[in-house]
């Protein structure tokens, strides 16, 4: 699971008010280099919840993202490179997604988060 996917996922238990972001608890992750596509990064930037991305990046030991970001930063090549790395090059293999609101933990196994709900949660 890349951090871009993490940035979309919300807790899906019935009755949850916000459910986003899920706190990433990463146990194992890998990094795979991908070609940087600046147009894509500019396209996706306004859709990203920055604080959630920065938090998830810290959970995998990547602390190079600023706490806050605005569109003007997209002119910086250095910023694009960090944004790209956090968003697309880190794959969480094992761990969990934790919802602070409900206390529910969704496990991540072989890179796949299990978002299936139990009967009493739907």
């Amino acid at each position: 699971m890349r951090l871009l996917t993490h940035n979309m996922l919300s807790c899906n238990i019935k009755g949850v008010a916000n459910g986003f972001p899920l706190r990433l608890e990463a146990e194992k992750w890998v990094e795979k280099e991908v070609e940087l596509n600046a147009d894509f990064l500019r396209h996706i930037f306004p859709k990203i919840e920055w604080k959630a991305l920065a938090g998830a990046a810290r959970a995998v030991g990547y602390c190079e993202l600023p706490e806050e970001a605005d569109a003007a930063m997209l002119d910086s090549e250095d910023f694009l490179r960090r944004f790209h790395h956090a968003l697309l090059e880190i794959h969480v293999e094992e761990g969990a997604l934790f919802c602070p609101e409900t206390g529910r933990r969704f496990s991540i196994t072989k890179g796949i988060p299990n978002m299936l709900l139990r009967e009493d949660e739907v």
Binding site: C11, K32, E35, P113, M115
Partner: protein, 277 residues
């Protein structure tokens, strides 16, 4: 029982044997491909841990020919034990390649986009999206065995795509991060209305377009419901295809059943406050 199936025997033939322009008022052009262009599969190493592979570059993926896409998809593993309650029918390479080829070459909805494959099964549509240069592909399915096969297929093709184990119906996503949804939803013959559940969710999540296959017999209903209830600004049929469902379940009396399906392109209304067009 349980006759083995593969991508090949689940082939989908187009009516009259060829993709052709139909005379519908809302039909969108033909599916011809450009000639003389070469596709080279990238030679990225799939290695884990501290070693890393060279950056994957796909400069000419966009120019891939339809036939090349189809034959690559023909190598994918399909369901080993299809589950009837989930209406698991493989999306054959013929139909998958045409769906994605049109999405990319006619509409530019794939390359450099975030694409979600709803009910991805063995991952055919998602992998086809990745082959055509989608920046990020996310496959979602309720069935863990399917996700396992899809992961193997992705690894075999040296493509990185994300998977989520989830019921589409219960999926909760921030809207509009995904650009395009591609799907071959259950036709709703076993569980009534499951096709429309998929469509409603897809139109909620996607910001750009939704590609989907639905039985031609439900055409008027699909169009009406998509526009009235599912947030679709437009609903167009791109072509009509014949889905040859092989005899994979016990209850199938005939050796092969042809289902005529429409390939649809839906465009969602932008959600309020969405940051991107």
């Amino acid at each position: 029982m349980g006759s083995a199936i593969s991508g090949q025997n689940a082939k989908i033939a187009v009516l009259d044997g060829n993709i052709k322009e139909l005379n519908y008022a809302n039909c969108i052009g033909s599916l011809g491909h450009r000639r003389g262009e070469v596709f080279a599969r990238d030679k990225g190493f799939v290695r884990w841990g501290l070693e890393h592979r060279p950056p994957v570059t796909h400069p000419i993926r966009r120019e891939m020919k339809l036939k090349q896409l189809e034959s690559l998809l023909g190598t994918l593993q399909q369901f080993s034990h299809p589950k009837v309650e989930l209406e698991q029918y493989p999306t054959g390479p013929h139909i998958a390649s045409r769906l994605l080829y049109t999405a990319e070459n006619t509409f530019g909805d794939i390359n450099g986009k975030v694409v979600a494959d709803f009910g991805c099964g063995c991952g055919t549509l998602g992998l086809a999206s990745a082959l055509l240069g989608a920046e990020q592909v996310i496959g979602i399915d309720i069935d863990p065995q399917s996700l396992e096969i899809a992961s193997i297929n992705a690894a075999d093709m040296e493509l990185d795509i994300d998977f989520i184990w989830c019921d589409i119906n219960k999926l909760r996503w921030r809207d509009d991060v995904v650009d395009t949804v591609v799907m071959n939803p259950p036709f709703g013959t076993r569980k009534k209305g499951s096709d429309m559940e998929f469509l409603a969710k897809a139109l909620k999540v996607a910001s750009q377009a939704v590609y989907s296959l639905h039985k031609t017999t439900t055409r008027d209903y699909i169009k009406r419901t998509a526009i009235r209830d599912c947030n679709a600004r437009s609903a167009d049929i791109l072509c009509e295809l014949r889905f040859d469902v092989p005899q994979i379940y016990k209850f199938h009396k005939k050796k092969e059943v042809n289902i005529v399906v429409d390939l649809w392109r839906f465009v969602p209304y932008p959600t309020e406050g969405s940051a991107d067009s």
